[in-house]
Every structure is written in structure tokens, then in C-alpha cells.
């Protein structure tokens, strides 16, 4: 049997205060897709970065086609044939498609760029991936799915044999994801090896040949995909089986959020009416680009709405100022946790107290802050060394819990959530669901947007389906199914 394409043995990696990987083994053969699963903080990212030359391991050996190699930098890894396809798409938005594809390896004649030739090559190699775009278009104009394919094209230009995909579908539509799976299978057939990291277990079952689990920086098992089920994969990740998080049906209370004739900047012709009752969890479903996030942002006043009334507990909210929304009891857990949810450079404690500190007077109430921080860390089981830990050093799920904690401290009437579990691992996701159920039971009204239909099905009492910015229909809990949502989401006629 030939040596594996990529083999890592006994990899150790420690960061100040954390042992991220201890004695981890990982093997990838040619023509194989290996799914790497684990909770956030389990060491997946670190392992990927070690394999891609971003981090140097403290101990252990990496072999490529049986030959030991040392990867000093991502560039060295790429030269050796290992490419990392990033989770946060790392292409420069202001370049053209051809420019991004050739960045750092431009074709040239002397000091001059061979633009025509690069455009021709770009067109060819993108078409092979089924991506028909003008090579002169700006990267910024591409959809997330197209950017992902462009990243893959970049890796293939460097003749990468190992492609490491980090949460590749987290911002893709269903169609784009299908395209990506097809490309993945093609790469596999060409004898390349693919490391596929995802929280979406359904995808793992669809795309992988073998599943490898990590937990707390250790190998926690592996199995061929034929033996894998949702349950045993979750067990491998969290070391226990999660209870089903569906909750009892219950009677909703008074209307707390009343929206009338809200028109967003993105969809000025679609007026949205919406009522949300205390204790209700309502999901907003729809395709990517159907105006879901825009609706939440307009409700919260992050974007100025064209027209419309938003009332919380019967009182109208100014509508163009998040501060007014927060004061009225309407809060938003935003889509982009790093840019909008947290001030990453500040401590967990200061992030938690940011929206509520001014309610305690003009001066900083240190006792309040400490109390809030200790309470939130305990109640939401935030894995932090303490309130003084800098928020950027937390894992995605724990960062999301901090965002949730800061809003719970504001004691809102309405909680808006935009993709609450994107990039959040299964364990933390279940905790967030449980927490939302508890909050709803205590009378909080919850309105959330999710691209993950399973999430809408698991969490929502009812769903509002958007199509081109307008409400295409509403589905009660009994009517909720993947088919019924998709029917409305793809409805052709615009009301």
C-alpha cells in the first residue's frame, strides 16, 4: 500500500495558557475526503493551521507522500501542495477575478503584467469548476459561493494535492453548496485529498468518505462514513449524547413587537407587517438575498428604513438608531459576530457590560460589571479564564454566548437573532437552543433568521418566509417542513 498523501503523527501545539493539540494523529489518502469534526475549541482550526503551515507544531511529524516535511509558512505549504481554503473568504475584494486568481504568481513579461493571458487562463480554469464569470469583474461582485470556487481555483493553480476546506458552506446557498460538493467529488476523482471541516453533519454524511473527530485537542475517534450517523458523530464530538431540544407547545402572550409597513432600503417596494407575541419564537426563513438580515437590521435601526412603524410594547421606536431600539427593549444579535457583535480587543467583562453600563450612572460601576461577568460566565457556561480574558481569544461559540449574555443583561422584550449559530459547534448550539427556550418560556419574544432549515424546524413556533423582501407566507408549527418552506421561499410571483 502506498504511503498516505498526508500523514501527521503525534502533533502537539500549545498556546499561552492552552494546550490546543496533544499527540494528534491524522491521515489523508489520495482520492479521499476526510471530514474533521469537533466542537469549537476542540483543536480543528489549530490542526488545520498546522497542516497548512500557519502554525509550527511543538512536537510531531508531518509527512507528505511519505517524506517528512517542515512547513514554515502558508506559502511553503502551498508550494508543497497543501492549500487552506479559508472560512472567512480571504480574497481581496478590490481585485478583479483574474487578479485575485493570480495574486502573488502573476504572469508577466519583464516588469509588465500579461493581463490578457491571465484573463484567458482565469476564464478557463474557472469554467472547469463550473464558474462562469467575467475575469475582469471585481471579486466584491461575486456571491460567497463564487468566491469559494475562486479560492479553490487558486489552490488548483498552485497544483495543490491537499485541499483543506474550513466550513466551506457556512455562507453558501443550497445550490452553491451542491456545486461545491460536485467540485469536491471531482477533485477526489483526480486523486487529490480533501480535508473537510464542517459543523453541518448532514453535509459530512453527503460528502465525506471518512469522519475523524477531535475533542479537547485529542483524537476522539474515527469511522468510515458508512457507519456514521448523526447521533454517533455528535457523541464523538461532545463525548455524550445530546437530548432532543424540542420544547413543549405553549400559549403565546401579548403582542410585544408590532411592525407595520416596514420598507427596507434593499427592498423599497416590499412592505412588511409582522406581529410577535411574548414567549414566541419565530423563525424568518427564505433564500440568501431574500432580505432576512436587512429586515432585522432595519427593525433594530442599524440601517435606516425607508418607511414603516416599529412598536415595542405599544411604544414606537425611532427606527434609525440602535441606541433607541435597545432603550425600547429591542436587541439584535448580529450576523457578523466579529465585526458587529463584539469589540474583540476588549475583555469579556467590558463587552458584557457595554450596552447596560450607562444605566448604572455616569461612572463605571465596577461591582456591577464584575457581578454581571461572573454571573454570565457561570449561567451561559462561557469557557473563559475569567472576565478579563480578551474576547478575541475565545472560540466562536463562546464569543456568541458573550453577545447573548450582554443582551440578556439589558433585559429586552424582543430578542432578534441573525444566524445565531453560524460557526458555532454542536454542543454550544444545543446550549444556545436550550437557553432560547428558557427565555421564551419566561416571556421573551424571539425572532431569528437562519439559513439552516433544520434550525428553523428545531427552534421555531412558527416561521415567516421571505421572498424578495416581502412576506411570502407564514407557516404554523404543524405546517413546518423543509418542503413547505422551500415552496414559499421560491415562490415566483411578487405580492
Amino acid at each position: 500500500m502506498p504511503a498516505p498523501l498526508l500523514e501527521a503523527r503525534g502533533v502537539d501545539k500549545a498556546f499561552p495558557g492552552v494546550r490546543a493539540l496533544s499527540c494528534v494523529d491524522f491521515v489523508l489518502h489520495r482520492g479521499e475526503v476526510v471530514a474533521l469534526i469537533g466542537e469549537n475549541g476542540a483543536g480543528k482550526s489549530t490542526l488545520m493551521k498546522v497542516l497548512a503551515g500557519v502554525h509550527q507544531p511543538d512536537a510531531g511529524e508531518i509527512r507528505l507522500d511519505g517524506t517528512p516535511i517542515v512547513l514554515r509558512s502558508p506559502a511553503a505549504a502551498l508550494a508543497a501542495g497543501i492549500a487552506l481554503i479559508h472560512q472567512e473568504l480571504s480574497l481581496c475584494d478590490n481585485l478583479t477575478v483574474a487578479g485575485a486568481l493570480f495574486l502573488g504568481a502573476e504572469l508577466r513579461r519583464g516588469p509588465f503584467l500579461r493581463r490578457r493571458a491571465m484573463q484567458e487562463h482565469a476564464h478557463q480554469s474557472l469554467r472547469r469548476l463550473g464558474l462562469e464569470v467575467d475575469p475582469r469583474a471585481l471579486v466584491a461582485s461575486l456571491s460567497p459561493g463564487q468566491k469559494q470556487l475562486l479560492e479553490i481555483a487558486r489552490a488548483l493553480r498552485a497544483n495543490a494535492q491537499v485541499l483543506i476546506m474550513d466550513e466551506p458552506t457556512s455562507s453558501l446557498t443550497r445550490v452553491e453548496a451542491e456545486r461545491l460538493f460536485a467540485v469536491t467529488r471531482e477533485l477526489e476523482a483526480q486523486g487529490r485529498g480533501i480535508v473537510y471541516v464542517s459543523h453541518r453533519l448532514g453535509e459530512v454524511l453527503a460528502v465525506a468518505d471518512r469522519v475523524v473527530g477531535l475533542r479537547d485537542g485529542h483524537n476522539s475517534g474515527e469511522m468510515p462514513v458508512g457507519d456514521a450517523t448523526h447521533e454517533n458523530m455528535v457523541a464523538m464530538m461532545v463525548g455524550r449524547t445530546l437530548s432532543n431540544t424540542r420544547r413543549e407547545a405553549h400559549a403565546p402572550g401579548e403582542v410585544v413587537l408590532r411592525v407595520r409597513g416596514l420598507r427596507t432600503q434593499a427592498f423599497p417596494r416590499a412592505a412588511v407587517d409582522l406581529d410577535l407575541r411574548a414567549g414566541e419564537i419565530v423563525g424568518i426563513a427564505g433564500l440568501l438575498g431574500s432580505g432576512r438580515s436587512e429586515l432585522l437590521r432595519a427593525l433594530f435601526g442599524a440601517d435606516r428604513a425607508r418607511a414603516g412603524r416599529v412598536e415595542v410594547n405599544g411604544v414606537q421606536v425611532a427606527g434609525h438608531d440602535p441606541a433607541a431600539a435597545v432603550a425600547a427593549g429591542l436587541v439584535l444579535l448580529p450576523e457578523d459576530r466579529k465585526a458587529q457583535g463584539l469589540v474583540l480587543g476588549m475583555s469579556v467583562m467590558h463587552n458584557l457590560s457595554l450596552p447596560t453600563l450607562h444605566r448604572r450612572g455616569r461612572f463605571v460601576d465596577a461591582a456591577y460589571e464584575r457581578g454581571l461577568s461572573e454571573r454570565s460566565i457561570a449561567e451561559l457556561s462561557i469557557a473563559a479564564s475569567g472576565g478579563n480574558q480578551v474576547a478575541s481569544t475565545l472560540s466562536g461559540g463562546n464569543q456568541q454566548k458573550v453577545v447573548l449574555g450582554k443582551w440578556l443583561a439589558a433585559e429586552p422584550s424582543v430578542l432578534l437573532l441573525d444566524e445565531p449559530t453560524r460557526g458555532v459547534d454542536v454542543g454550544a448550539r444545543a446550549e444556545i437552543y436550550t437557553r432560547l427556550h428558557e427565555l421564551a418560556a419566561r416571556g421573551l419574544a424571539v425572532l431569528f433568521v437562519s439559513s439552516d432549515l433544520d434550525e428553523v424546524l428545531a427552534l421555531a413556533d412558527r416561521a415567516v418566509v421571505l421572498h424578495q423582501g416581502a412576506v411570502a407566507g407564514e407557516l404554523a408549527r404543524e405546517q413546518l417542513s423543509e418542503e413547505s418552506v422551500m415552496m414559499l421561499a421560491t415562490s415566483v410571483e411578487v405580492p
Binding site: A325, G341, P355, L357, H358, V364
Partner: protein, 324 residues
């Protein structure tokens, strides 16, 4: 905090060097440590320290104010005019100058927040605009205070006797008040917390319900207000102002003092004590050059060189520390 220790250590080294270079081998006395020189140095620290804190207010929001020197010029020309030509009382004249300065800051803030213009552009144009207006307004004549502000001048030139032959210059006390006030504002109030959150990530702060627009405007107002206060003290010190030169380059001294003192240009970081020490370092350097050389031709070169060396050492140490 580590940065503050670093700058304090550097200040100590420069001071020791200054003492060594200006000492008289025969008697052992040092011009640098003479009471007269120390008084002078402290007075300049007081005056320039106020400007550095002014600059820091907008730098912590991630912005910049290049118009500080021109606002100094406005205060320096308008204060004598109010006191002498209009014969207003010192209190009213000071209040008007500070109100005018604050109005300039408000104007900057509105352009930056309301119209979304770049702080660099807005305040660069301010730099040219206000000095130009002042030159026209004064007809390029020197604006003298004469004896119109004898009482008020104590703020800039007064000395509180400490020991025989040495008095604490009053501007240092003004700086102390401004510094303590700023420090309390930054570290103990919700306002300060919001300001620093805004400086680190404006969007996240806005999403947390912080009124980021109003806060940014206020930072520019306070910056210009302090620049106006500094400018008033400068003109009270020298008793006259010439619009074409008064306060030239002071914005760069102010920014350099703040940045040298550990205020990050990307925003969201800064300690008042560091700013005061950074300014002290700048002033000590300039003072030493004046004492040692018989001309100050090399002043800019030495100041620039030392700041660059300091920044390089700081970055080098940080990398060394990160690697360990």
C-alpha cells in the same frame, strides 16, 4: 501600562544624558538641572501636554486632528483682539475663545459624522483654512496683549514658589487638572468606556447601542476646546501672536507626544500618564538640543530621529516578547 514604563525609562535616560552633556566639569553644576531651566521645561511641558491630550481625544476614536496648530493660532489672535480692541473682561474673553474653539470642533465633528468625510481631509483643510482666515483677519499684523491681561497672564507665566529660587509653573498645574480630568473621564466613566469601545470597533459599539455619532462629535469638540485652551495659554505666555507663524507645526508635536506616549493611531488605546510622559520626552529632547548646541538647526532632525528609534525599539521588543 508596559508602554508607560518604557516611555518613563526612555525619559529617564534622556534626562541623564541631558544632565551629563550640560554639566560644567569644573563645578559639577548642570545647566539642565538649573532651577531656571527646570521651570522653563515644566512650563513648556504644561503647555504642550494640553495639546497632546487634545490630540489623543480624537486619536482614541481612530481619527486624527491636523488643525490643532491652527486652532492655537485662532486662540492666539482672537484673545488679544477681545481683550485689547474690544476691552472685554478676561473671564468673558476666555469664555468666548473657548466657545469659538469648541465650535470649530463641533464643525469638524458634524462634517466627519454627518457628511461622512475623512477626518484627515476635514482637519487638513481646517489647518489651512483657520490660519488663512486669521492672517486676513489680523492683516498679518502682530496681535499684542500689551498690559490688557496682567491678571490672566498668571495662568501661563505664574510660578508657585516651592523652594528658594524654584517655583512650580502654573501651566503644569493646568495640565495636571486637565490630565486628571481626562484620566477620570477615560477610565472611570461610562462615557470613556464607550469612547474606547468606539475606537476599537465602531460598528460593534453602535450595534451595542452606543451613540457613536454623538460620541465622535464630542471627541472633536473636546479636542478643539483643549487646543483653544492651549493656544490661549501660549499667547498669554509670550504676550503676542503673529498669525502666519503662531502655533505652526504644533499639531505634529501634539500627535507625536500622544503617539510616543502609547496612544495607538488605530484607536481604542491610550493612557493619560503615557501622553504626559511622551510630551515630557519631546520637550526634554528639544530643551537639551537648545542647551547643548549653539543653534537649534538640528532640532527637527534629532526629535524625528529619536521618535523613530523609540518606535523601532518598541516594535522590536514587542516582537521579541511575542516570540517567547
Amino acid at each position: 501600562m508596559k508602554k508607560v514604563f518604557g516611555i518613563a525609562a526612555l525619559l529617564f535616560v534622556v534626562a541623564v544624558a541631558a544632565w551629563w552633556m550640560t554639566r560644567d566639569p569644573a563645578s559639577g553644576d548642570s545647566t539642565f538641572l538649573s532651577p531656571y531651566n527646570l521651570e522653563n521645561l515644566l512650563q513648556r511641558l504644561g503647555l504642550f501636554g494640553i495639546l497632546s491630550i487634545a490630540a489623543a481625544f480624537v486619536i482614541v476614536t481612530g481619527g486624527i486632528d491636523l488643525s490643532i496648530g491652527s486652532v492655537v493660532c485662532v486662540a492666539g489672535c482672537v484673545l488679544p483682539w477681545l481683550l485689547r480692541d474690544l476691552a472685554l473682561s478676561p473671564a468673558v474673553a476666555m469664555a468666548l475663545v473657548l466657545a469659538l474653539s469648541a465650535a470649530i470642533g463641533l464643525w469638524h465633528g458634524v462634517l466627519i459624522v454627518g457628511l461622512g468625510l475623512q477626518p484627515f481631509i476635514v482637519t487638513l483643510c481646517g489647518l489651512l483654512l483657520y490660519r488663512g482666515i486669521m492672517r486676513a483677519f489680523t492683516n498679518d499684523q502682530t496681535m499684542g496683549l500689551g498690559d490688557a491681561a496682567e491678571g490672566l497672564r498668571w495662568l501661563a507665566t505664574g510660578r508657585l514658589p516651592i523652594v528658594e529660587g524654584f517655583g512650580l509653573p502654573v501651566p503644569v498645574l493646568v495640565l495636571a487638572v486637565v490630565a486628571v480630568g481626562t484620566s477620570v473621564l477615560w477610565t472611570r466613566t461610562v462615557w470613556g468606556r464607550h469612547l474606547f469601545a468606539l475606537g476599537r470597533n465602531e460598528e460593534a459599539a453602535r450595534f451595542a447601542g452606543v451613540a457613536t455619532g454623538r460620541l465622535t462629535v464630542l471627541a472633536y469638540v473636546l479636542c478643539s476646546l483643549l487646543a483653544g485652551l492651549g493656544g490661549s495659554l501660549f499667547v498669554l505666555d509670550v504676550n503676542s501672536a503673529q498669525a502666519s507663524s503662531f502655533g505652526n507645526f504644533y499639531e505634529l508635536y501634539a500627535i507625536a507626544g500622544a503617539v510616543l506616549g502609547g496612544v495607538a493611531l488605530r484607536g481604542g488605546e491610550g493612557i493619560v500618564l503615557g501622553i504626559v510622559l511622551g510630551t515630557a520626552l519631546m520637550q526634554t529632547l528639544q530643551n537639551t538640543i537648545n542647551l547643548v548646541g549653539d543653534s537649534n538647526r538640528l532640532e527637527f532632525a534629532v526629535v524625528g530621529g529619536v521618535i523613530l528609534a523609540g518606535a523601532a525599539v518598541d516594535e522590536g521588543l514587542r516582537r521579541l516578547w511575542r516570540r517567547r
